[in-house]
């Protein structure tokens, strides 16, 4: 079982998965997998395409129910229908739908308002959030006017901007150039160091070494339909 230790015993939740699997008919999307991510730690998930990384993240975020096993976020079962879970978990799994008639800044303003933050300082927060991902100059662009890399930075901005103390990200580095990957790794590391628990699927060695407290390898054997991961090998971040 993978156990990621927290850096500062931060405010993020403890996430535990106990032999969770997802099976639909004859197809095993995710073989039984167990893990623990301690508060304020970063757990990196790796494995070949089709091994079930995204399915695992969806289960951990409470977006889909596991066929077997159970996921707990602190003392609550992971289920996004639970408002407490929704308030804590920010997820980037695929592209969130954007309004075609709102600019990047408008999107963040909308998020800011719905989480009840201070209205008077909203503009500063929005600009700072875009600036930290180096897309501040694109604030007045519409989503369809972005390149694919800029679009990924915008999606990261949306995800990181909403309040959360558990981040679940599926390949946040995709479509980004080398410099932006380093930038994102630095940002995520800062969030982790501030106490946010993080579970990230990634194929990027740089991001893994910069961020991971623990690596969960789901498997690389292309002939296997999906091995059980309980008690599988643990690798330190430096080995990634």
């Amino acid at each position: 079982m993978q156990r990621a230790q927290g850096h500062q015993g931060g405010g993020g939740p403890r996430v535990s998965a106990d032999a969770v699997a997802k099976i639909i008919g004859p197809v095993t999307l995710l073989a039984a997998t167990s893990l623990i991510a301690e508060p304020g730690s970063a757990l990196l998930v790796r494995g070949r395409n089709g091994i079930g990384k995204t399915t695992l993240l969806q289960i951990l975020a409470g977006l889909i129910a596991p066929s077997t096993g159970r996921v707990r976020i602190d003392d609550r079962v992971a289920d996004e229908r639970d408002t407490t879970i929704r308030a804590r978990v920010a997820t980037l799994l695929g592209a969130p739908a954007a309004y075609r008639d709102l600019t990047l800044a408008d999107h963040l303003t909308l998020i800011d308002a719905t989480w009840g933050r201070d209205r008077d300082t909203c503009d500063e927060r929005v600009q700072a959030a875009l600036d930290q991902l180096q897309i501040g100059e694109l604030a007045q662009r519409f989503p369809h006017e972005l390149s694919s890399g800029q679009g990924q930075l915008f999606r990261l901005a949306l995800t990181l901007f909403r309040p959360s103390d558990l981040l679940i990200l599926d390949e946040p580095e995709q479509r980004l150039d080398t410099d932006k990957r380093v930038l994102v790794a630095d940002l995520l590391r800062a969030r982790r160091d501030a106490g946010t628990t993080m579970i990230v699927a990634s194929h990027d060695p740089g991001l893994t070494s910069a961020l991971a407290d623990e690596v969960l390898d789901l498997g690389w054997d292309v002939t296997a339909s999906g091995p059980d991961h309980e008690g599988g090998s643990a690798q330190g971040a430096g080995d990634a």
Partner: protein, 457 residues
């Protein structure tokens, strides 16, 4: 003396057609004529009898008014709107668009483009003229059958229908040509030669995407393929006003940045509200008027509910906003509801002032059916995935059509019938309309909840 290049082009095109279709040819015109034959049979059996029955039972004053100055004005307005829609539709997806492989392999060849696209263009024009003539024959025949006119009516209706069909077909073709840049051609062949390969490919790809999206019940993908990218109002900023008011401000800003949608929606509400007032206050008005008015109003109000539809599209995705799903849905109802009530009430007041209609009743009728419309729009936004029956061969298209049309049917039938009753019983019906509207909204929000939870497999 025949042009040798043109003869060469014909030979090359004939060779290409033989490779693709063999001796039988493409059969485009043959299939079109068969479709027109089916329309004729179907229209003759159902449409003729229905129209004739409506004319027989309609109030004589209403039938006479169709031939009056107001009737002619209404016809001209309808032609104007239809023409505008034809041009815009042609720009989005032109009527002369071959399949993608044909574009890449044949249209790209150095053959006269007018020749390559001639068969499709001919099919489009013949189909439009034929459909117009058939509709004219149907209407004229029903008038004759109902004893409301003579043979001359049929002749006039057939010729008028055919000309109208040709006009709309040409406008759609001009719209397609305009999408390829400016030009001064004055013939169909010239318009076809002016079509750019990149635009033909874009339209063909759009057809494939929209067709796939409709078959899969993915209405968002279909909408995004049709909608033009938004670029207006970039300098405006959404400001934080707290959760509820910011959602409402978002919807207003979205409409401001898409003025075509805003103008179309408001124009539809104004036109529909005028008809609603007539249907609700004049007992002699035919029931079909109330149903058509509600159908038009449903489409118009739906145009202003983009925020609600996007929320429905994101059901089941990780939440970004801090509002519960259904509460956000309710916030997105505010703008379309207010637009319907305010624009509708103003129209009702004008109609009441211009006639002898009771002002309070007219405004009350429009305001109360707005709740039915909002309920139906909510049901439409959260209709979810098409039923499994949609993917079964024989009954699939019917099941899919029913799934698409259900909210529209609820608005048109329930609202239309209530308006017809209102014409007889007066203001006493208004609380009932309001209750039906609230029930529709409640059911729509129930569907929202179901959709929100439905993804969790």
């Amino acid at each position: 003396m025949p042009d040798p290049t043109r003869a060469q082009d014909r030979d090359r095109l004939a060779d290409a057609a033989y490779v693709l279709h063999g001796e039988a040819g493409s059969g485009t015109i043959r299939r079109l004529l068969y479709a027109l034959y089916l329309v004729l049979i179907f229209g003759g059996v159902y449409g003729f009898n229905l129209l004739r029955a409506m004319l027989v039972t309609a109030d004589q004053g209403w039938v006479d008014s169709l031939a009056s100055g107001w009737g002619v004005l209404a016809l001209l307005a309808t032609v104007l709107v239809a023409g505008t829609i034809a041009v815009r539709a042609g720009r989005t997806r032109g009527p002369v668009v071959p399949q993608l492989p044909y574009i890449d392999t044949v249209v790209t060849a150095a053959i006269d483009r007018a020749l390559v696209l001639r068969e499709l263009a001919a099919a489009w024009l013949i189909g439009a003229v034929g459909t117009g003539a058939l509709i004219g024959a149907l209407v004229g025949g029903a008038v004759l059958g109902a004893g409301r006119g003579g043979v001359l009516v049929i002749v006039t209706a057939v010729i008028g229908g055919a000309m109208l069909g040709l006009l709309l077909a040409v406008l759609a073709l001009l719209g397609q040509r305009a999408a390829s840049g400016p030009g001064r051609e004055t013939s169909v062949a010239g318009w076809l030669r002016g079509l750019r390969i990149a635009d033909l490919r874009t339209h063909a790809l759009r057809t494939t995407h929209i067709g796939g999206a409709v078959l899969a019940g993915d209405l968002r993908a279909a909408r995004l393929d049709i909608a033009a990218p938004v670029t207006r109002g970039r300098g405006l900023r959404l400001r934080s006003h707290g959760p509820w008011r910011t959602i409402i401000a978002r919807d207003l800003l979205g409409l401001w940045r898409t003025p075509g949608r805003l103008a179309g929606g408001l124009a539809g509400i104004v036109a529909a509200s005028a008809l609603i007032v007539v249907a609700a206050t004049q007992p002699q008005a035919p029931a079909i008027l109330a149903i058509l008015a509600m159908a038009l109003a449903y489409v118009a109000v739906g145009t202003l509910a983009e925020g609600l539809r996007l929320l429905a599209d994101t059901a089941g995705t990780p939440p970004l906003l801090g509002l519960p799903f259904r509460r956000e849905a309710v916030a997105h109802l505010v703008v379309p509801l207010l637009a319907s009530v305010i624009a509708g009430s103003m129209t009702a007041a004008v109609v009441a002032a211009a006639s002898t209609t009771d002002l309070v009743f007219a405004v009350g009728a429009v305001a109360s059916v707005s709740t039915v419309l909002i309920g139906a729009v909510t049901m439409g936004a959260f209709r979810g995935s098409p039923p499994d029956l949609s993917f079964i061969g024989e009954i699939g298209p019917m099941a899919m059509a029913y799934w698409y049309a259900r909210p529209l049917t609820v608005a048109a039938i329930s609202g239309g019938l209530l308006l017809t009753v209102a014409a007889d019983v007066g203001p006493a019906i208004l609380p009932v309309i309001l209750l039906v509207g609230l029930a529709c909204v409640g059911y729509g929000l129930h569907l929202a909840r179901k959709l929100e939870l439905g993804h969790r497999i």
